[in-house]
Symmetry: C2
Subunit: 418 residues, 2 copies
C-alpha cells in the first residue's frame, strides 16, 4: 500500500470509529482509560525497550542533551503517563451536556447539546507522553484521534499506541479510536493534512515553525498554540508589594513557558519606588534586565532594550522594562507588541482596572494576579489540551469542552413552517 | 497605489477600527444603525441611479433574468434594507455578555466574557441587500467589516457602503468600521484572503463554487455555508398525519433552500399506508418523485431513483424516496448520504426518537417537525448571519453571538502560582 493510501485508510477508519465513539457511554470510556493506564504499567519493560531504540538512534544522530532528555522514558515517566489517564476518569464527560434549552412560540423545544468534534489529528514533536495524554483527552471527549509524532520517537510512540489500542479494544471501543501514522516520511504529514473529508480538526503541538508549516499546508481547520508575549503593567495606583510578587512570579517562576512575562511596563509615578528593589530581586533570580532610557536612569546597571527586545519572546531569564506615562500608553504598547495571550494590570484604581480588563483584547486579562495562571489546570478545567491562540472556536486554555462542538436537538409535535 | 497595497491598507484600517468598535457602547451602535437606515431612505434616488448603471451593464453583459432580478433595487427593496437595520437595534448586544463565571480555591475570580471576533471579511455574490445586512450585523456584534461584493453590483454596493460609512461616522464610529473592496479585479479577493494579520474570519456567501474557491485560497479561517442534503425518516411508529404535513412542508414550502428535504426515507411497515396519498399530494404541488424499487411497487407512477439521486441536492421540486427496513438502515443511509445540516424523524416511539436524535450527527436534528426550521429567525436568534456547515466555532444557524469570540477576565488580589 502506498503511503498516501495508508494515510487515507487510517483517516477513514478514524471517521468510522468516531461515529461509534460519539455515543459510547461515559462508563465505557472510563473503563478504557483505566485499562490503558493499567496496561502501560504492565508493559513498562516493552516501553523501555522501544524507547531505548529511539534514544540510541537519537544519540547516533547527534540529538541535543535537552532533546534526549525529553525523549527518554523511565519508570517514573511511564507511571506518570498512566496516572494522567487515570485522572481523566474523574473529569466530567462533556458529551451530551446541554448548553442551553428554550421553547419557541410555536411549541418547538430547542436544545443546544455538546457533541464530539469527530476526528482530531494531533501532530507533535518529541515528548512521548503527549501520545497517551492526547489520546486520553480525545477519547474522553468522544473523539477518534489520529496521532503523528516526531520521527525521533517513532518506536516509543508505536509501542504506546499499541498498548492504548489494545486496551481500548478490550474495553469495547471500536477499531480506530486511536491510531498512529506509522511513517517517518515527511510526506505522511502532507497527506494527513489533505484528509478534510475525514478529519475535523488538526492540533499541532510543538514549536512555532511546526505550527506555521501545518497551518500553511492544511486543508483541515487548525487550532494553533503559538507562544505568548505577555505583559504586566504596574499602574500609578499599584500596591507596590503586590506588584513585586505578581511580577516576580510572572517572570521568574518558569521563564520558559508561554504565559511568562516578557515585557514589564511601569508607570512613571511609581517607577523609582518600584524598580530598584524589584530589579535587585530579579538579579538575585538570575534574570537579565533590559530597559528603556527612563528605566536606566533609575536602575543604571541594566542593559539597553532595543526595538527588537519589545517584540521578542525570550522564553528565558530576560526581561524588557519600559517606563510609561499613562494607562493609555501601556495599553497601546500591549496592543502593538503583545501576542494576545495573557496580560495583567497591577492597580488599586477601580476605573483603571476596569478599563484595562475591557480594552486589552487578550485571551486572558488579569487584575492583580500573575499571568502564569493562564493554564487549563489553574483555570479549573481539570485537563489541558493546550492553550489556543486562535480567536475562533477555542481561545485561551483548552479543556475537554473545547474538544467538542454542538448540535441543536429540536422536539416538535408536527410543527410546520408557514 | 497598487491593488495589493490598497487591500492591505484597507485591512489595516479595519483592524484599527475593530479595536475601537470592541468597546463602543450599545447605544452608539444602535444610533449608527438608525442613522444608516435613515440615510438609506433619504438617498433612495442616489441608490436607484447607481443601481441603474449596474443593471444596464448587466443587460449588456447578458445576465440572466433571474440574476438581473436579484440585482435590481426598487423603492420597496431599499426600504426593506433600511428596516432590516432598524430591526437590529432591538437585538440584544452579545458583546460583554458573561458566559460563565467561577471562583478558584486560591480566590481568583474568572469570567468568560463575549468579545467581538475583530475584523470580519464577507465575500458575496449579486444580491446588494447583503451589503447593508452584513454590515449591520457585524457592527452590532462589535466587529469591523470588509465587504467584497460581486462585480455585477459594483456601483450599487459602492453607493450603499458610502451611505453606511457616512452614517456610521456621523454616529461617532471610527473610520473603517465598514469598508468595501472597490475593485472588480479577481486578484483583489486573492490579496484579501492573505490578510490574516488583520482579518479574523472570512464568511463567503454564495454558491458552492465560490465557497470552495475561497476556502482553498484563504490564509484566514473560513466559516462555510454549504447547502444541505436533508432527510426525513418516517418511522414504523409514525403518526401518518403528522408525517404527511411535516414532509410536505419540508419538501414543498420552499424547495430551493438549503433546509428543504431532498431524500425521504419510509419504513416498510407504513410505506403502503403513507406513500400513495402523500405522493398524490406532492404531485398536486408539482413535485417530481423518484423512488427505489419498493417505492415503485407501491406508487408505480413515479420515476426511478438512481445512486446519484440519493446524493444530489436538487434545490428544486424533486424528491427521492426510499423504503427502508429499520431505524438503523435509515440512520446508516443518512450518515452515508446526508450533509449533516438538518435531518428529521417522524415517530411516536420514544426509544426510536431518542436514538435518532442522539445518533444522527447533524447540526440540527428534529423529532416530528419540518427541517425548514433550521434558520436563525425560526430558532429565535432574531437575526441570521447564515447557516454554518462547519463543525468548529459555529454550527448550524448563526446569530449575533456567533460573530463573537470570548476572553477570560481574571480578578485577583496578588495571587501567584506556586
Amino acid at each position: 500500500m502506498s503511503l498516501e493510501n495508508m494515510v487515507v485508510a487510517l483517516a477513514q477508519t478514524a471517521k468510522k470509529a468516531a461515529r461509534v465513539l460519539a455515543t459510547v457511554s461515559t462508563h465505557t470510556k472510563n473503563q478504557a482509560l483505566l485499562a490503558a493506564a493499567q496496561r502501560l504499567r504492565d508493559q513498562t519493560e516493552v516501553l523501555l525497550a522501544a524507547n531505548a531504540q529511539d534514544v540510541a538512534r537519537g544519540k547516533d544522530n547527534g540529538l541535543s542533551a535537552a532533546l534526549l532528555d525529553r525523549l527518554t522514558l523511565d519508570q517514573a515517566r511511564i507511571h506518570a503517563m498512566a496516572t494522567g489517564l487515570e485522572i481523566m476518569v474523574d473529569l466530567p464527560d462533556p458529551v451530551e451536556e446541554t448548553v442551553a434549552t428554550w421553547k419557541r412560540p410555536n411549541g418547538l423545544e430547542i436544545s443546544q447539546v455538546r457533541v464530539p468534534l469527530g476526528v482530531v489529528g494531533i501532530i507533535y514533536e518529541s515528548r512521548p507522553n503527549v501520545t497517551a495524554d492526547a489520546a486520553g483527552l480525545c477519547l474522553k471527549a468522544g473523539n477518534a484521534v489520529v496521532l503523528k509524532g516526531g520521527s525521533e520517537a517513532f518506536a516509543t510512540n508505536s509501542a504506546i499506541v499499541d498498548i492504548l489500542a489494545h486496551a481500548f479494544a478490550e474495553a469495547g471501543l471500536p477499531d480506530g479510536a486511536v491510531q498512529l501514522v506509522r511513517s517517518t516520511d515527511r510526506q505522511a504529514v502532507t497527506f494527513l493534512l489533505q484528509q478534510d473529508r475525514c478529519i475535523d480538526v488538526i492540533i499541532p503541538r510543538g514549536g512555532e515553525e511546526l505550527i506555521r508549516a501545518v497551518t500553511r499546508e492544511s486543508a483541515i481547520p487548525v487550532i494553533q498554540h503559538f507562544s505568548g508575549l505577555c505583559h504586566t503593567y504596574v499602574d500609578a495606583a499599584a500596591d507596590i508589594e503586590k506588584a513585586r510578587q505578581v511580577c516576580l512570579n510572572a517572570k521568574a517562576q518558569r521563564p520558559w513557558v508561554c504565559n511568562a512575562m516578557e515585557n514589564l511596563l511601569v508607570h512613571e509615578a511609581v517607577a523609582s519606588r518600584f524598580l530598584p528593589d524589584f530589579v535587585a530581586r530579579l538579579e538575585q533570580e538570575g534574570v537579565e534586565v533590559r530597559g528603556c532610557d527612563q528605566t536606566r536612569q533609575i536602575v543604571p546597571q541594566v542593559g539597553v532594550a532595543t526595538e527588537a527586545d519589545w517584540q521578542t519572546e525570550y522564553l528565558d531569564k530576560i526581561l524588557s522594562v519600559k517606563v510609561v506615562g499613562s494607562l493609555e500608553e501601556a495599553m497601546d504598547f500591549i496592543h502593538a507588541n503583545g501576542s494576545g495571550l495573557a496580560d495583567c494590570i497591577v492597580s488599586e484604581d477601580y476605573s483603571h482596572v476596569r478599563r484595562f480588563l475591557r480594552e486589552v483584547d487578550s485571551a486572558t486579562v488579569y487584575a492583580n494576579a500573575s499571568t502564569r495562571f493562564t493554564d487549563g489546570f489553574e483555570f479549573g478545567f481539570g485537563a489541558e489540551v493546550g492553550i489556543s491562540t486562535n480567536r475562533l472556536h477555542a481561545r485561551g486554555p483548552m479543556g475537554l469542552r473545547e474538544l467538542t462542538t454542538y448540535k441543536y436537538v429540536v422536539y416538535g409535535d408536527g410543527q410546520i413552517r408557514v
